[in-house]
Symmetry: C2
Subunit: 332 residues, 2 copies
């Protein structure tokens, strides 16, 4: 096999992104040089941050230009190694991009221990999303037992970990999710104390009932109207980890009228990007891995099959059509 | 003398507060009991937080009810003492309220050292406003030498101290103030690097020119359009101490569309109220006092004369008509 499939950005979307903004191509696989490995990617991770990378506006990382390979984390198997540190057959995590094969320096690749956890978990619960959840919750929110923690996009790759970790800290945990099936999963499988469907007509009423003692920690993934509603329930000295604003990608920014609550309640609102502190990842990953092995962290995956279906799966994820961590399976 | 003048809240203002919301009355001065002192108030402090206390909406402290004495800090002289800790003639700081005389427990009163600093400074530069400036700047913003610090209401009791302290830390300091006279004072007397008149037609252009390296620390007193404009210049990993939103008292809250900047730039935005940490006040006051004595902290006062003029001076202060710390002189 000398060729691979790749998905490139075709044009930058204005407004909603669609499959038409991407293109599939075949290209020759570069041969691995000294110190490099050739990897067969089995799993591609789809994550909301990718939407920022293809937006015309400035974001926190360098964007993907039209004609360039889409960025993304992948889990795969080493097919060929010119490095002492990796052997053929090793399972590895890398920033492989939206492609079936990648050639890259072995030192940019993490060898995986798949004993007791599926390799794909390194893209979700014990990967970047899980580490994001841990970082925002533990270092910004710092929840104490008995406090009320709220997370939106609660059934997703990040939110599901946030809530389960907060339960482990002895908190009351309330999730916000889209639809009854996700809420059912959040409460009955993940063990949250409550979950509110943000599509419900009486969402605000249900929210008020679910947080009778107010909110001490908010892990914010969505932004917009949901964030605004949550802001009105924040307690004095509460903390907000601002992780994402996925509702804001495809429209004019929402106008927030409740900023005064931050003053009156002495709230700490802090934005964060998990990739700012790569040095913290190994220890956090071990914590998460131990909890997965111990059964304290449940997770769920939405799987699209075939690289050619990655664009549609990506768009669907941004619309909330996924249920749990969105992956693309690149092998049969 | 057995009677005193007091100003009570008459009705809660909806929209702009005016002198008609207050009433002056004479009342008998309660005699001082064991452990108490009788104080002749010389100076009454007028501060923006008082507007929150008379608002119908919830704020961070208990409100003043119609018919009750207006709250406020005062500096005065002990006329009569039934306490071992204070003597007749001592100058003291207390929460004396809007009245000419107060009877209160000696332990609720701070004896002042007026050696080298005027007594009124304990209501401003080395009082609550100065301590507010220190707390927000030093514990939330934590500016480093070479960083750019911006403060609005820059000529006021809090803003003037923020900027001078930041200069002392080796920062580039930019003030926002209302009008050319205040800006002239901010630059030429207080020593800020630049000051922008927020009433100028090309305010946004001037702001962009004044912070060519972006903003690392923002000390926010005003809120609304000014805060929104400043948010667009925040640097990655910048900090915002949210101290006040004085522009928001008399109107519907401004709609902020730039919250995404907090995420993208990993900004820490934190509200604070200086009275939350009274245990920190003595040490901070000593730091400020040393800087006043050493000439590193300049200050300016706007003085209204006579308790009967306190309501008009208070309303004027909320409109930015004061220039420096607003006081009422209660003695001839």
């Amino acid at each position: 096999m000398t060729t691979r499939q790749q998905i490139l950005l075709k044009t930058r979307p204005e407004g909603w992104v669609g499959p038409e903004h991407f293109e599939l191509r075949e290209s020759v696989i570069p041969s691995a040089q000294d110190g490099e490995v050739l990897i067969r990617n089995h799993w591609l991770s789809l994550d909301p941050y990718m939407r920022s990378r293809i937006a015309p506006e400035k974001s926190y990382a360098q964007g993907v230009e039209p004609g360039q390979l889409m960025v993304g984390a992948t889990v795969g198997e080493v097919l060929e190694s010119h490095s002492d540190t990796l052997a053929v057959g090793d399972w590895v995590l890398s920033a492989g991009g939206w492609q079936t094969h990648a050639t890259m320096p072995a030192k940019q690749v993490l060898k995986l221990d798949t004993d007791g956890v599926p390799a794909s978990a390194y893209l979700g619960v014990i990967g970047m999303p899980g580490i994001t959840a841990w970082t925002g919750l533990m270092t910004i929110c710092e929840p104490k037992a008995g406090e009320t923690v709220v997370v939106d996009a609660a059934s997703g790759a990040v939110g599901s970990v946030v809530g389960q970790l907060a339960k482990g800290e002895g908190c009351r945990v309330v999730g916000i999710a889209g639809g009854a099936a996700k809420c059912d999963y959040v409460v009955n499988t993940l063990g949250f104390d409550a979950c509110i469907d943000h599509r419900a007509e009486n969402f605000k009423q249900q929210l008020a009932q679910a947080v009778p003692q107010g909110i001490d920690c908010l892990f914010e993934n969505v932004g917009g109207e949901i964030f605004e509603a949550l802001l009105t329930h924040m307690n004095p000295f509460s903390r907000i980890a601002l992780c994402g604003m996925v509702s804001e990608f495809n429209r004019a920014p929402y106008g927030h009228h409740t900023i005064r609550s931050i003053l009156i309640n002495r709230i700490k609102l802090q934005g964060f990007i998990v990739s700012d502190k790569p040095q913290t990842w190994p220890a956090i990953r071990e914590q998460l891995r131990a909890r997965v092995l111990g059964g304290q962290l449940q997770f769920r995956e939405s799987i699209a099959h075939g690289l050619e279906n990655a664009p549609a799966a990506f768009v669907g994820m941004l619309k909330g059509e996924n249920f749990g961590k969105q992956l693309v399976k690149l092998t049969p």
